[in-house]
Amino acid sequence: MASVALRSVSKSFGHVPVINDVNLEIADGELVVFVGPSGCGKSTLLRLIAGLVPVGAGDVVIDGEVVTDIPASKRGIAFVFQSYALYPHMTIARNIGFALETLGLSRQEIDAKVAEVAVTLKIDHLLARRPRELSGGQRQRVAIGRALVRQPEVFLFDEPLSNLDSDLRMEMRMEIAKLHANLAATMIYVTHDQVEAMTLADRIVVLNKGCIEQIGTPQQLYHAPQNRFVAGFIGSPRMNFTAVSANVSGASCHLMGPGNLSLDVAITGPGVPAEIGVRPEALSIAAARQGKLTGTLERLEDLGHEHLAYVRIAPETAWSVRLPNSLARTALGTSIGLDWRFEDLFLFDKDGHRLDHSLSHERSAAANGALA
């Protein structure tokens, strides 16, 4: 098994920088998830690690050894592609065993290994078929089988479940978690699915425009995001934001904003708040003028297990609220108040960095508690 490290890795395609000075240490046996908006360079970063794309600058280190110039197939890495990338003209058995064929193993050895992997993944009855005769979920299993058979030290997954419907996705997610537990192999997993990221990851790496925004456990990212981007990216529905003007006097600070926001906070570090954020699940409904914010109830959505309310606090800003119970339809269009506990408030300066306030530590404590 192996650790993976990226040392100041950069990559441009032509003149377009795609990866900018990425530093990352992944421990042996860890499952790290890359998340980020589409086009931020997740796949490119994975390809750099795999060696499918040559790095522009910096080094890729696997198991303490610099592998920057070592060809992809010699790095002890397996790659599971988003499109599965099964060879259409080969049987499933040959698809799985193809790498071993290239290595020059004997037919019996290959057959034995393929059969073993097929049993693990419950695809042993499909070995004689061709990829087009398989369902999406089965193809996904074959793609994983093709990675498994080589017994790699590091697995790379590029949005492996994004082509599956939600039931299958959940099933395969559990399979991958099980696989990780059984193999104890290092895995890097790219996804845009929040649930996959939160449930699978030992640590999540949030990428944006080719830079790492934050690295942390799912709980750290959720409870203590370092900046506005991470705060907005992790969580669904996303965190509510609104710009505020701050009046600082010493350590205390008075915030004014839309929706009759008028709030005193105690800042514990340097910096001036320019924006506040509250997660939809941290908001509660209060009577008009009773909460910290006032707005107009604009829309109600009943998802069965939860209810979403949209409250317009300014012409261009609507906040979403996640509620356990539905509000009366008659409340639509009326003015209501929004409230939250103080430790659920996030403050950001004008560059988007999160500022600590007197109660932030409770949240961090919660994150660390969840870790333990």
Partner: protein
């Protein structure tokens, strides 16, 4: 504001559908007639003798004398053999070289790629007549004049660009991840080409190969210029130079018989590869 859509009765749309079907049928029939009539006429003419040829009778006379004479003619057999050699070698060479070139142009990134692709396209722009004399000199220098191989050499100049071009666009559309999967599986470029790309390129190879074959099989101008004696002629030249019984008789019947005979292999080939060709022409249009 709503836009009102004018709607007519169901019967109207049914009638329109019928009219469209009939119109389509008529157009198809016309096209088929246009395409097939010359060939049919050749068959009809090839079974007529002497003065019959000048009567516009649409039914064949079913007199196969011309065919019998044709097959007794040793020179014709030689020219068929020559044509086969030329067409098969040209096809094989242009597919082989074309595939290698297409892989390089379509997959490997090197700075001169664009200009190289343009050059390939440029070559196929020149009309045959323009390259004819230059090609003649080349062939003389290589000592290939009046040899069958001179034609293979000459035909490559127009089959190679289009095979390269078509195969390049096929390889370009080839899913990147499939190739990356092969790289992860430890394949060299050569093994990717032979084990992954080539088996999947079957349809594209068949359709371009067939086109190259037909071009080489039917080519006349180069074949006439670069060969001299009967022993090295190909079929189109042999047919063109068929002599009549007398100076004043144009040997229309034998020519038609010969034309029909040499077209048969092409038709057989096309029918044999029919399914593959359709797959090749639409390759990449729909992702499977």
């Amino acid at each position: 504001m709503s836009t009102r859509i004018k709607r007519r009765s169901g019967a109207y749309y049914r009638a329109m559908r019928r009219v469209r079907q009939i119109a389509l049928g008529c157009v198809t029939a016309l096209l088929l007639f246009y395409v097939l009539f010359p060939y049919y006429w050749a068959i009809v003419s090839s079974t007529k003798q002497g003065a019959q040829l000048y009567e516009s009778v649409l039914l064949p006379a079913l007199d196969f004398r011309h065919y019998k004479e044709l097959f007794r003619d040793a020179n014709f057999a030689t020219s068929i053999f020559n044509s086969l050699c030329v067409a098969i070698s040209t096809t094989a060479l242009s597919l082989g070289l074309g595939t290698l070139a297409a892989y390089a142009l379509g997959r490997l990134n090197f700075p001169e790629r664009r200009s190289l692709l343009l050059t390939v396209l440029m070559i196929s722009i020149f009309p045959q007549v323009v390259v004819l004399s230059g090609m003649f000199e080349l062939i003389r220098w290589f000592g290939l004049y009046n040899r069958v191989w001179s034609l293979v050499f000459a035909y490559l100049i127009f089959t190679l660009p289009f095979t390269t071009w078509v195969l390049t666009s096929f390889i370009r559309e080839f899913p990147r991840e499939l190739e990356e999967a092969a790289i992860m599986d430890g394949c060299s470029h050569w093994r990717i080409l032979t084990s992954i790309l080539l088996p999947l390129m079957g349809p594209a190879l068949v359709s371009t190969g067939l086109l190259a074959f037909i071009l080489a099989w039917n080519e006349f101008l180069f074949a006439l210029t670069f060969t001299l004696t009967e022993g090295s002629r190909t079929v189109p030249v042999a047919i063109g130079l068929l002599a009549g019984n007398s100076r004043y008789e144009y040997p229309f019947g034998p020519i038609m018989a010969a034309s029909v005979t040499v077209t048969l292999p092409l038709i057989a080939l096309v029918l044999f590869f029919q399914r593959k060709i359709v797959a090749g022409l639409t390759a990449g249009a729909v992702k499977g």
